[in-house]
C-alpha cells in the first residue's frame, strides 16, 4: 500500500439538472430510452436545464482531507452523489480506488416502529456489513451511541439527537479507504460532536482519503488539508484552506454598488489582498464631489461572513475635514490587524455633519487573512479576533 497513492481522481465532472419537474420527468424517460438502446444523448443543455456541477477536477491522496465549501445550491451535494455513484455524470469521469464509505444520511433504512437494536441490523445491512460483522460490533455501537438504556425501545420514541447518534455509531464502524461526509457533523450536542471529531481524526490517521462537505468554516479548518470553494456548480478556488475559506466568506456580498462619489481600494503589493495577522492594512479612499461638504465624516465598516465586526467613524479620532469640489483622497490604516484567518470585507461611507446626512457608500473592498495558521483543536488561537492577553499566577 503506497503512502500517497491517489485514491480519488475526478476529471471534468459535470451534471445538469432541470428546473421544471414535468420536463425533468420527461427527460428522465428519454434518458432511460437512450441508455437502454445504448445511445449517447447530447452533451448540450436542453430547454430548462442548467449545470448543477460544471467541470470539476481534483485528485485526492491517502491521508488527505478535501473540504467542499459553498453556499446552498453551489453543487456540493450533487458532486457527492456522483462520487458515491448514486447518479451518473453527464460529462467527465470519477475514478475511485478502494472501499467507499459515505456519511450522507445517518440511519438509512431505520424503521421507526422497530427497536434500536433491530435497526442496527437494518442500517448495518444497508451499509454493507454482514450479519457476523454486526453481531461482533453491536455492543460497541450501543456504547458509542450512548443509548444502551433505550436500545430495545422503538426508534420513533428516540429524540432526534439519539437517532443521529445511533446512525453515526453504526456508520463509524465502516473501515473505508475513501470516506465521503455530507454535513452530518452539524447535528447532535457538543459533547457528541467532539466525539465525532475525535473519531474522524482517528480515521484520518489511518490514511483514509476524506471528502467533507460543510457550511461550518470551523469544521473545515479543523479537519481539512485542502479545500475547493464552489459557486454555481463551478470550482472557483482550489488549494490552501485559509485562502479557500476567505473566498467563501466573501462570496455572499460580491455585488457592490459602485458609486461615482466615493470609491475605495487597498494599497498592497499583493494583487489578491492577502495579509497576515498583525500586518498593517492601508486603504485609499477617493471622494469625487460636485459640492462643498462641510465637516464631513467617513465611516469604515468591517464585516465577516455577513456579521458586522466593527464600525469606525473619522470623528472618533477627531480627524476633521471638509470635502471640496473635485477629488479628495484619504488614507485609512488598520494598524497591527487583530484579525485571524478568514475573509473580510471593508466598506467606506460618506456622511455630512449631522446624523441624517448620508451621502454615499463606496464599493466593498475585500481582503484575506491567510496566516499564521489557527488551531481549532484547543491548543492555540482561533475564530476571528486575536485578543491582546496575558496569563499570570496570582
Amino acid at each position: 500500500m503506497q503512502e500517497n497513492e491517489v485514491l480519488i481522481k475526478v476529471e471534468g465532472l459535470s451534471k445538469k439538472f432541470c428546473k421544471d419537474l414535468k420536463t425533468s420527468l420527461w427527460y428522465g424517460v428519454k434518458d432511460l430510452y437512450n441508455s437502454v438502446l445504448r445511445r449517447d444523448s447530447s452533451d448540450s443543455l436542453r430547454k430548462n436545464e442548467f449545470w448543477a456541477v460544471k467541470d470539476i477536477s481534483f485528485e485526492l491522496r491517502r491521508g488527505e482531507c478535501l473540504g467542499l465549501i459553498g453556499h446552498n445550491g453551489a453543487g456540493k451535494s450533487t458532486l457527492l452523489k456522483m462520487l458515491n455513484g448514486l447518479i451518473n455524470p453527464d460529462q467527465g469521469k470519477v475514478t475511485i480506488k478502494g472501499r467507499v464509505g459515505a456519511l450522507i444520511e445517518l440511519g438509512a433504512g431505520f424503521n421507526p416502529i422497530l427497536t434500536g437494536r433491530e435497526n442496527i441490523y437494518n442500517n448495518g445491512a444497508v451499509l454493507g456489513f454482514s450479519k457476523s460483522e454486526i453481531d461482533s460490533k453491536v455492543e460497541d455501537i450501543i456504547d458509542f451511541a450512548e443509548v444502551r438504556e433505550f436500545i430495545d425501545m422503538p426508534v420513533q420514541n428516540y429524540s432526534s439527537g439519539m437517532k443521529v447518534r445511533l446512525g453515526f455509531a453504526i456508520a463509524a464502524q465502516m473501515e473505508p479507504d475513501v470516506l465521503i461526509i455530507d454535513e452530518v457533523l452539524a447535528v447532535g450536542d457538543l459533547a457528541f460532536r467532539m466525539k465525532c471529531y475525535t473519531h474522524l481524526m482517528k480515521v484520518m490517521s489511518k490514511n483514509v482519503a476524506i471528502i467533507l462537505v460543510s457550511h461550518s468554516v470551523v469544521d473545515i479548518m479543523r479537519l481539512c488539508s485542502v479545500v475547493a470553494t464552489l459557486e454555481k456548480g463551478k470550482s472557483i478556488f482550489q488549494g490552501n484552506v485559509e485562502k479557500g475559506v476567505s473566498i467563501y466568506n466573501n462570496l455572499a456580498n460580491k455585488e457592490s454598488k459602485d458609486s461615482s462619489i466615493i470609491s475605495a481600494k487597498i494599497l498592497s503589493d499583493d494583487e489578491e489582498n492577502d495579509f497576515y495577522t498583525g500586518d498593517d492594512i492601508n486603504f485609499q479612499v477617493d471622494i469625487n464631489s460636485e459640492f462643498y461638504i462641510e465637516k464631513a465624516r467617513i465611516l469604515f465598516h468591517l464585516e465577516y461572513s455577513n456579521i458586522r465586526l466593527s464600525s469606525i467613524s473619522s470623528k472618533y479620532s477627531e480627524f476633521n475635514f471638509d470635502i471640496k469640489p473635485g477629488l479628495n483622497s484619504f488614507n485609512f490604516q488598520i494598524k497591527n490587524t487583530p484579525l485571524l484567518v478568514g475573509g473580510y470585507l471593508g466598506r467606506f461611507e460618506l456622511y455630512g455633519e449631522s446624523l441624517k446626512d448620508y451621502i454615499a457608500s463606496a464599493n466593498f473592498v475585500s481582503f484575506n487573512i491567510v496566516g499564521p495558521k489557527v488551531d481549532y483543536s484547543g491548543f492555540g488561537i482561533c475564530h476571528t479576533i486575536k485578543l491582546e492577553h496575558e496569563f499570570t499566577f496570582i
Binding site: 432511460l32 470519477v94 424503521n111 437494518n122
Partner: protein, 281 residues
C-alpha cells in the same frame, strides 16, 4: 492488497453480459441485506396492526365471496368447474392476488426505498430479492388457507400437489419479471402503477380465475392467448389434481420468461441511477 477500482462516467459502454454478471453477483451478495429488509417490513407490518395476517387474504376472499353468492343465488350461471365452485373461485382469486402482488412488488419496494436510493449506494437488486422474500412469506398464509378449503370441501390431496410449490414459485418469478420492466417508469410517473392495476383488474376476467374457459366465442380466444391463463390453470390444477391442459403453453411461458427476466435485471440496473437523479429526495 490490490484495491478495487470503481469508475463512474457517462459513456456507459459496459457490455450487457458484464452488467448481467454484476447484477446476478449483487443478488447473491445482497442476500443478508434482502433478508434484513424483508424481516424489517414484515415485522413492522404486523407490529402496527391488530388484524395482522388477515389483511393478506381479505381482498381475494371478498372477491370470491361475491362470486359464490352470485352463483349460488343463480344471478349468474357459470359452467361446471369440475370441483366445488367455492374451491375453484377461492383458489383462483388467491393465486391471482399472488400474481398481482408479484407484478407490483418491484415497483412498490423500489418506491418505498426512495430515501435510501438517493442517499446511499447499496446493491439495488436487494430490493427485488427482499420483495420475493416478502411475497413468499405473505403467500404462505394464503396457501395454508387454500389447503384448508381443499379439506373442507372434500377435494382432498393428490400426488400432483408436490409439484405445486414449483408452480407457486413460477407465479412469483413471472410476476417479478413483469414488475422489473414496469418499475422504472412507474417510479417516474404515478400513472403507471394505476394503469397497471386497472389493466390487471380487467385481465382477471380474461383468465380462468372465476370461471372456466368458455366453449367458444371471443372470450375463449382471448383466454387461450392470454399467457397468464396456463399459469393460473396449471398451478390450480396441480393443487386440485385436475387434468393439466395447456401444459405445452405453460412450459413455453415459463421457460421463455427466463431470458426476459435476465433482460429485466439489466434494464433495472441501468435505469436506477437515471431515476434517482429525477427524484432527488
Amino acid at each position: 492488497m490490490e484495491l478495487k477500482t470503481t469508475v463512474y462516467q457517462k459513456e456507459n459502454n459496459t457490455k450487457i453480459g458484464k452488467l448481467l454478471k454484476n447484477s446476478l453477483n449483487d443478488i447473491f451478495t445482497s442476500r443478508f441485506l434482502a433478508k434484513q429488509l424483508a424481516i424489517r417490513d414484515i415485522k413492522s407490518q404486523y407490529r402496527q396492526s391488530f388484524l395482522g395476517i388477515i389483511w393478506a387474504f381479505i381482498t381475494p376472499l371478498t372477491t370470491a365471496l361475491v362470486w359464490i353468492i352470485l352463483s349460488k343465488t343463480g344471478t349468474v350461471t357459470l359452467t361446471d368447474t369440475g370441483i366445488p365452485y367455492p374451491v375453484y373461485v377461492f383458489s383462483g382469486t388467491l393465486l391471482w392476488s399472488i400474481l398481482t402482488e408479484s407484478i407490483n412488488a418491484p415497483m412498490v419496494n423500489t418506491n418505498a426505498a426512495r430515501g435510501m436510493l438517493s442517499k446511499i449506494n447499496f446493491p439495488k437488486e436487494a430490493l427485488i430479492l427482499s420483495g420475493v422474500y416478502k411475497l413468499i412469506s405473505n403467500s404462505l398464509v394464503k396457501i395454508a388457507l387454500l389447503l384448508f378449503f381443499l379439506l373442507l370441501y372434500g377435494v382432498g390431496f393428490h400426488f400432483s400437489i408436490f409439484l405445486f410449490p414449483f408452480a407457486f414459485l413460477g407465479i412469483i418469478f413471472i410476476g417479478t419479471t413483469i414488475g422489473l420492466f414496469i418499475s422504472p417508469l412507474g417510479m417516474l410517473y404515478n400513472d403507471i402503477g394505476k394503469i397497471v392495476n386497472l389493466g390487471l383488474g380487467f385481465l382477471m376476467y380474461a383468465t380462468p380465475v372465476i370461471y372456466v374457459i368458455p366453449k367458444d366465442g371471443f372470450l375463449k380466444t382471448a383466454m387461450e392467448i392470454n399467457p397468464l391463463t396456463p399459469l393460473i390453470l396449471i398451478t390450480r390444477n396441480l393443487m386440485t389434481g385436475q387434468s393439466l391442459d395447456y401444459l405445452m403453453y405453460y412450459f413455453i411461458v415459463s421457460i421463455g420468461c427466463i431470458p426476459i427476466f435476465l433482460l429485466g435485471l439489466v434494464f433495472y440496473r441501468i435505469s436506477i441511477p437515471i431515476i434517482v437523479e429525477r427524484m432527488s429526495a
